[in-house]
């Protein structure tokens, strides 16, 4: 199965483990992911906030490049925000003639064009669950994740807004639950599974973001999850990298590793945690891995510096 692959900016930096684990499981899943040549940023939510017409054009350049890349008809994105922007731009160009006209007028300035509907935009989770299929995945499981309690976290942009041809329910989706079930894990009930992780609010209004992050963590903790499984770099970053700030802010003591669904599949296929980028999360996944008999290699801590014990003048301090 051949797909155009749009990794998005995060997968080159903060979400590098998502990219690594996606590539690691692609082969056993029979997925041929062909990166779109010279793709650009999807604009996240920021470009739409400043100027929508330019934002659609920014996204549409990627659609045009993908549609021109040797017979690609399906475009997959692992990041939920990229997925939404690509899907929404294609959908709105098809639905609103004015958006289509403006976007194509802008694309023409760069010698490109895009006919809405030429590509089918898919989230990577949808491709894995519905194209590869749960039965095929189940057959490849060599190390079932017995005894692991996982909270399936969908976030917002994978399931909303409803634009037609939805993959799952916008408020109570279940396809990630089914996937975690076939790899042998115990899927915990998770009422806030499609609530917001705070998005870019960590940068703009931290208190707002911390409260939204706290709700998600607390909900998973109440159902005694060993980890939260995500499908989006932004959700992973907010829940993982800001967890200690949230604990400091609310006096809580959450200690929940946040892993990508691709890493979970890789573990069930018997791959080494390191091959899947596990070990780069801020909240360590080691306790969870020892539960299933896998070991993680943490980066070695630097040796502590020795104090100077001579009588010379003190070192400068900030």
């Amino acid at each position: 199965m051949r797909y155009g692959y749009y990794p998005g900016c995060s997968l080159g930096s903060t979400a590098a483990p998502y990219d690594q684990s996606t590539k690691a499981i692609a082969k056993p899943l029979g997925l041929e992911l062909e990166e779109i040549h010279d793709w650009n940023c999807c604009g996240a939510t920021e470009y739409f906030s400043i100027q929508k017409t330019a934002a659609y054009a920014l996204v549409a350049r990627n659609l045009a490049l993908a549609a021109n890349q040797g017979g690609i008809t399906q475009l997959t994105a692992p990041c939920s925000a990229c997925y939404l922007n690509l899907r929404k731009t294609d959908n709105y160009m098809g639905k609103y003639p004015e958006i289509n006209a403006h976007t194509n007028e802008a694309l023409a300035a760069g010698g490109l064009s895009y006919k809405p509907g030429s590509l089918k935009v898919r989230h990577l989770l949808d491709v894995v669950v519905n194209d590869v299929g749960l039965d095929a995945i189940k057959e490849k499981v060599t190390s079932p994740l017995k005894g692991l309690r996982l909270a399936p976290y969908y976030g917002c942009l994978l399931v909303r807004p409803t634009l037609g041809e939805e993959v799952d329910d916008p408020e109570y989706p279940t396809h990630l639950d089914e996937l975690l079930d076939v790899v042998g894990a115990t899927v915990v009930d998770f009422p806030l599974k499609a609530h917001c992780c705070g998005g870019h609010m960590t940068q703009i209004s931290a208190d707002t973001a911390y409260e939204l992050i706290r709700r998600i963590l607390q909900n998973a903790d109440e159902y005694k999850a060993d980890a939260i499984v995500t499908v989006c770099p932004m959700c992973q970053l907010n829940l993982d990298a800001y967890q200690s700030q949230v604990n400091g802010h609310f006096g809580t003591s959450f200690n929940l590793p946040i892993l990508y669904f691709t890493q979970i599949i890789g573990l069930a296929f018997g791959m080494k945690p390191k091959e899947l980028g596990i070990g780069k999360e801020i909240v360590s996944a080691s306790p969870l891995l020892s539960k299933i008999g896998a070991e993680v290699e943490e980066p070695e801590a630097r040796p502590a510096r020795r104090r100077r014990d001579d009588k010379s003048l003190p070192m400068p301090k900030i």
């Binding site: 940023c41 403006h102 802008a106 010698g111 408020e171």
Partner: protein, 186 residues
Amino acid sequence: MTEGQTKNDFLSEVIAKTAGGETLLTCLQCGTCGGSCPSGPDMDYTPRKLFAMIQADMKEEVLQSNTPWYCVSCYYCMTRCPKDIPITDIMYTLKNMAVEAKYYDSSDAPDFSESFIGYVEKYGRSFELGLATRYHLTHKPLSKFSYGPFALGMLMKNRVSLTPERIENIDQLRAILNKAKSLEVV
């Protein structure tokens, strides 16, 4: 607008600049949007109230309010709206209009968005480290201490790119964006 109402340019402008925006006229004032909003408690006005204010031609109050800037784009309101009003898209329209009119003064949010797109226009990709550094030093110099542990953790786990990546055909992208900016917002 129905006949007999006074002319409301602001309402017409919001509708014209939002695909599917004419549904705003059908708003029932049911409040499902505000009740579904995760950041509702931080907003000056809930979306329901804001829509009533648009219908009442309160342009300055609407464009100066923090409501659109607290929208996290979770699309819960839009999914639940019984009249299918594209609420999140209307919030984007209001942000576009507020930026254009320079109608905000107490929010860092527009500057964050502008810093973000600054990197996209320069490199074609976003650059998280540059964005966070530039934005935090400009806006929250004192918060860099609380931001420290986060940044250090990410650096030690090798999850931050230290240099921005530039796409090959950046001139093509800039030509497309410049053309788009000369066209009307829909």
